[in-house]
Symmetry: D2
Subunit: 285 residues, 4 copies
């Protein structure tokens, strides 16, 4: 059973009284705070907060909260986002030919572990078609080549709009998205890169790691920005390797990492635990 809570993610210039004002707002409307975390970036004097409170007994209607809170938000010139634990964001998965991350997400989804809807899988190849059918999810294939890329992205965006998609997860989608495409889903596109970024960005990170002879490999989930593999990092993890491991061993070990790291990042996003700032993330984990 999902709690019936409201969640505010807030950032603004740090000033005396912000926390007091925010928590008083909730209290005065008879809300009970379930979780509150804040962070101050001292270099830039910026305030970040995540506060979650029970809607039971709260005296503002769900659709009235934003309007009322916006008065307070204006006072502090906040960037803020209000969401509700019972809303289920709609997520599209993009994938190419490596299906392990896709399967991992779908099995979690099917088991009720992901608090979202997944109405759509998009691919530049037909490989994921069977998986989509097994899990009863719409599948759309958009083959991409240098000439048709812009046109195909436009069609994808139309489909995403039609399906009311909130989040995009690139579960090993081996295409670089255009700046224009990304602009429609700012900080709403989550990628998994199969290396410990910033090491081994770009192509064939396992082959790069194998050649370099590192003793540890990693995986990194990050928001997608215009700069390839350089968006704000959400989560990373690693596993030890040694000289006995072949390149194929690295690939297999790495796939387990990819699945776990991507899932953690998706969960953090769905639970509204991430704020971004200066190309970094603040994760209220």
């Amino acid at each position: 059973m999902i709690n019936n809570n409201a969640i505010l993610l807030i950032s603004c210039k740090d000033q005396r009284g912000i926390t007091a004002d925010i928590t008083r707002f909730i209290f005065e409307h008879n809300g009970n705070i379930i979780d509150a975390q804040q962070h101050i970036d001292e270099q830039s004097n910026t305030f970040f907060m995540r506060v979650e409170w029970a809607l039971e007994g709260f005296d503002l209607a769900k659709d009235g909260i934003a309007a009322t809170f916006s008065l307070l938000a204006q006072k502090y010139q906040m960037d803020w986002e209000l969401s509700f634990s019972q809303d289920r964001p709609r997520l599209a998965i993009f994938v190419s030919k490596h299906l392990h991350c896709l399967y991992d997400l779908l099995i979690r989804y099917k088991s009720g572990r992901l608090p979202c809807e997944i109405p759509l899988i998009i691919s530049n190849h037909p490989d994921a078609k069977d998986a989509a059918r097994e899990f009863d999810i719409d599948f759309a294939e958009f083959p991409i080549n240098p000439r048709n890329k812009n046109a195909q992205e436009k069609r994808e965006l139309e489909l995403l709009k039609l399906k009311r998609i909130d989040w995009i997860v690139l579960a090993r989608y081996h295409q670089i998205l255009t700046k224009d495409f990304i602009s429609h889903y700012g900080n709403k596109i989550i990628n998994i890169h199969h290396s410990f970024l910033p090491a081994f960005a770009g192509k064939s990170p396992y082959a790069q790691a194998y050649k370099k002879g590192v003793k540890i490999i990693g995986a990194t989930s990050h928001f997608v920005t215009e700069s390839l593999d350089e968006g704000p990092i959400i989560e990373q993890d690693i596993v030890r390797i040694n000289h006995r491991h072949s390149l194929m061993d690295l690939v297999h070990k790495g796939e387990d990492l990819e699945k776990i790291v991507l899932n953690r990042a998706v969960m953090l996003a769905l639970e509204k635990k991430i704020l971004t700032y200066h190309n970094k993330t603040i994760v209220f984990g």
Copy 2:
């Protein structure tokens, strides 16, 4: 340079408005909150909070804060503890014959990494005498045997009182403290146990781990209570081992863990980041 902040650690029954009241208290006296973290234990409906604010500009004198805050504390029947980042708690280290944790703490202390004073080292053996002298710290030897234990502990307590000791760190002190002794330093005695508790409590944990054939060994830092090796766990960490490692290898690998885990626990305590509850810790790390 250490910041000039005040820190409150609070726990009480969860009720609407607590966070709002606490943060308003700070704001109304012109304090700027640097860090605020809270946690609700849903099973028992208990509220926990750590809040830290800058004293610069705060309109209550340091020695007047407690009296003023106590009014609010009474309203919610809080357990609370006020401290100041510039105060340097006084810490005594107890040690027996294994000196690696002692040396590790002393080098950190000497390098200015531990925000405390260490005026005293106590041991049931003479082995640490040289280390104490090197680092210019008083050393007191209290040999313990079953007959003199109570008497020696009394003398230790007198010395601890004389030296105004706030915290005791058992850095591989191989004596069981009596219930009476512990009662004088409730949740102020930090132990390092050289296993991944609750596995391998008691004597010779590395030998137990070696015999069992575990693939990972650990170390655990915890508060000392009457039940041996069963107090609230503050921090744990682990390292992988394999069949090639001898018992002596486990000891050596484990010592590195012990040093790091104990240091982390001591730092958390000194930075007032630990609350205890139901024999567990809440670590606002």
Copy 3:
């Protein structure tokens, strides 16, 4: 493509010349050693070895190797096991109601990652029936209660024999196997226990860990022996937790561990990398 290699796992009393004799045996028949690892247990003066060599050019026929090698084996009174990398052991998965480990193994199987056949899934409940059908694997339900246990195990053993099963994987199978059943599959039954053994053996390990307040949880894969959760440990891994994590969070985080740890153990077994000794494993990883 799987290499065409022979693998010998050997243990015996350590004596001068063993390695020389074994490697000469391979060389004299024109074999090329691909991998050789040995280990001496100094306490008991026992020798362990894993040696793998290419069959290409080897001048003994596959089915003649054992007879020829047995002469050498007798000289040193070896325990030994010969196997071939291209043979695909037949594995049965036992499962109860938690299907995450089952699904994980099946997806790896389907992707060609497990060098084995999985012709059979056995359960005391019907929950895994759909998964079995999806992956086109025979499913047999044997409901167990205290009165029918022995009879059901007999039927299971008959089915296992009929299906020529070599290995049994307990992928969260919540039944204690009888001593008699286990005796048919000595060191051929691999279990996943959802704790960092020997901590939290027995029932509800996540609830035990939650209550204890550990800062790290683990999973352990081990061979099944008569003593519950006490067989030789093959592999363990851990993940950090903190006070924010609910019991359900522990369960979810732990499930990811279980899948990875069980898979690693199964792979080590299938690749003939495990020897057992004194209730411990030697893993030539």
Copy 4:
């Protein structure tokens, strides 16, 4: 008590019979193999081996082993290195102003944990002078500037020769060694770099990591080659961080990593467990 063993590190083109020949060589002279590990690099068809045997009962005198073995070595055109567990290599530590790694090594040395002699500490600054005196080790200060670098390195090399130094450990030595200097100690200079290489090579890796917003920081110990921070990696390890950690927190957490990773690499080198190949290491751990 250190065992009285001989150790051979061998690499050559892989051919049938190498292992058999090497182990027969040991057996025929009545040696008992304590440990043998081998590895084949399949891409380049290269054979690597580490074999260690007890000298007790061995019928060749220590100083006669090399000559006798060289016949076999010639047959296979081996690169090989013979050493003895009771020999204590002589190690010089280079350090600049950060003394934590130096102190860590010295305390291990003093406790008898490092199987080597440390007769010399070299620095471009006077900061480590006191540490050297405390531990009764010669200290030599060679201030370096762009103009005197070559001359100072010459003087260092003379001193290293005079002191018969076998290994150099750069324990946070913030000077780039010249190609000429390195050529005198090929694969005998071990550095600790305070990042997870290849990420954050060069200056201020913690500041780079902080700016990038990684969720994990690391440390890397590697052999020094002409290419800065690009020599063969011996060992790496990591620790998790989050947005709460300041740059100073990263530095402090990283220092604990550096100490452990450097010590592990030094131990592997002293125990003759490392072979290098194609700018990578084979670690027979």
